[in-house]
Symmetry: C2
Subunit: 204 residues, 2 copies
DNA sequence: ACTGCCGTATGACAGATGTCATGGCGACGG
DNA sequence: CCGTCGCCATGACATCTGTCATACGGCAGT
């Protein structure tokens, strides 16, 4: 009796995106009504196509799927949000939830979970991998301040202190202080490790 | 008249893998007869299912799709090899070709190219993105020696010189020398940048 | 009002990192 | 058999990084 579920797919790699569309197309009750390749095109497309469920990849040009989720959640709170990602990083889960996501799936989960998640969120359920949820809770919140995160992100391409100081309009000493505190908070021994760990946890 | 083309799909993320299978399943002349999630399972599966074309992702546990391609190429040279990857790194293309690949596709190409590539390689054609091919040629070969690559790879997680020396059974000075020459060859200013650049080019 | 915490800054110090010159050893090509 | 190259090593030097103590203004919570 119910009409088909209208789904939007946001994913930057077209081959993956179209493959997921093919997968969902096999389901009778689901219809992919829109596809976008950039985070910043999500909101408009959701509006235009009266989407029921938006399926969002995190890593996208324009803006991340998490940011896109937040935008949609603010403007159109009725739209259900499924966040889909390659990396099961606890920090991602946390921020996705804070952005109003209804489901959080990792791409190495079985494909059947995708359609299932779409149906469940529409029924008002939340879908979260319990292992990941546990990890997210166990690990605690991001200990880094905004500025520390920003400097760490800027340092992640191998820039030197002098370059960082210039681009961030800070003194060189300040840059070192921030990196130093970040290194200590993450309990590592240099900036490279700090970047790696923060990335892994989804804190960058 | 010709029987269906038997395809093996190797890709570690099950959602993507099954989605690609769904996509290829839409084609009448193609049949996905095997799916594996690890590089080191490819060869056995190709043998077992008398596969015509193997579709290999590069980033996989066990071994990379490129290594798997080389194995298949050596043992069963009649099997056609399509390498599929997220990252259009020229160095990847180069090594894929050296491993005997018949096609090289990036995941952000349109989905239609996938089935098309399968048919073309079976017809004896090679399928390569011309832009990428140009980039691979323009950039030249990997200037790093085996050892330099190895040390750079080991250093990429933020290990310190002392740790590298220990795990690689080298003197600390030697480690520094290798990193220094790698840094110079890549025309960068520190190991972090060296790692980044080498990664980008697919030289790691 | 007082107490944190954040952002910013400085100066000093120790230790890590990058560079350079130099050497030995083995393999491979001319 | 000689030159070149890759691999490994040492020592010396300059620079970059990480740590610590200290400071000041702002802003939030008690």
């Amino acid at each position: 009796m119910s009409p088909t579920i209208k789904v939007l797919l946001a994913e930057d790699q077209s081959m993956v995106r179209e493959a997921l569309a093919a997968l969902l197309g096999l389901e009778d009750d689901i219809e992919v009504v829109a596809q976008v390749a950039r985070g910043d095109e999500v909101l408009a497309a959701v509006r235009e196509h009266a989407v029921d469920v938006a399926l969002l990849d995190i890593e996208m040009p324009g803006c991340t799927g998490i940011e896109a989720a937040a935008q949609v959640h603010r403007s159109l709170p009725a739209v259900k949000l499924v966040v889909l990602t390659t990396f099961g990083r606890p920090g991602y889960l946390r921020s996705a939830m804070e952005a109003g996501a209804d489901a959080f799936l990792v791409k190495d989960a079985p494909a059947a979970q995708l359609a299932e998640a779409v149906r469940k969120v529409l029924a008002g359920e939340r879908v979260i991998d319990p292992t990941l949820a546990a990890a997210a809770l166990a690990e605690g919140a991001n200990p880094l301040t905004d500025r520390e995160r920003e400097i760490l992100r800027a340092a992640s391409d191998g820039s030197t202190n002098a370059e960082l100081a210039k681009t961030l309009h800070l003194s060189q000493g300040t840059v070192r202080n921030y990196l130093s505190t970040a290194i200590q908070k993450l309990a590592v021994r240099n900036r490279a490790e700090a970047v790696r760990i923060a990335r892994e946890k989804g804190w960058l």
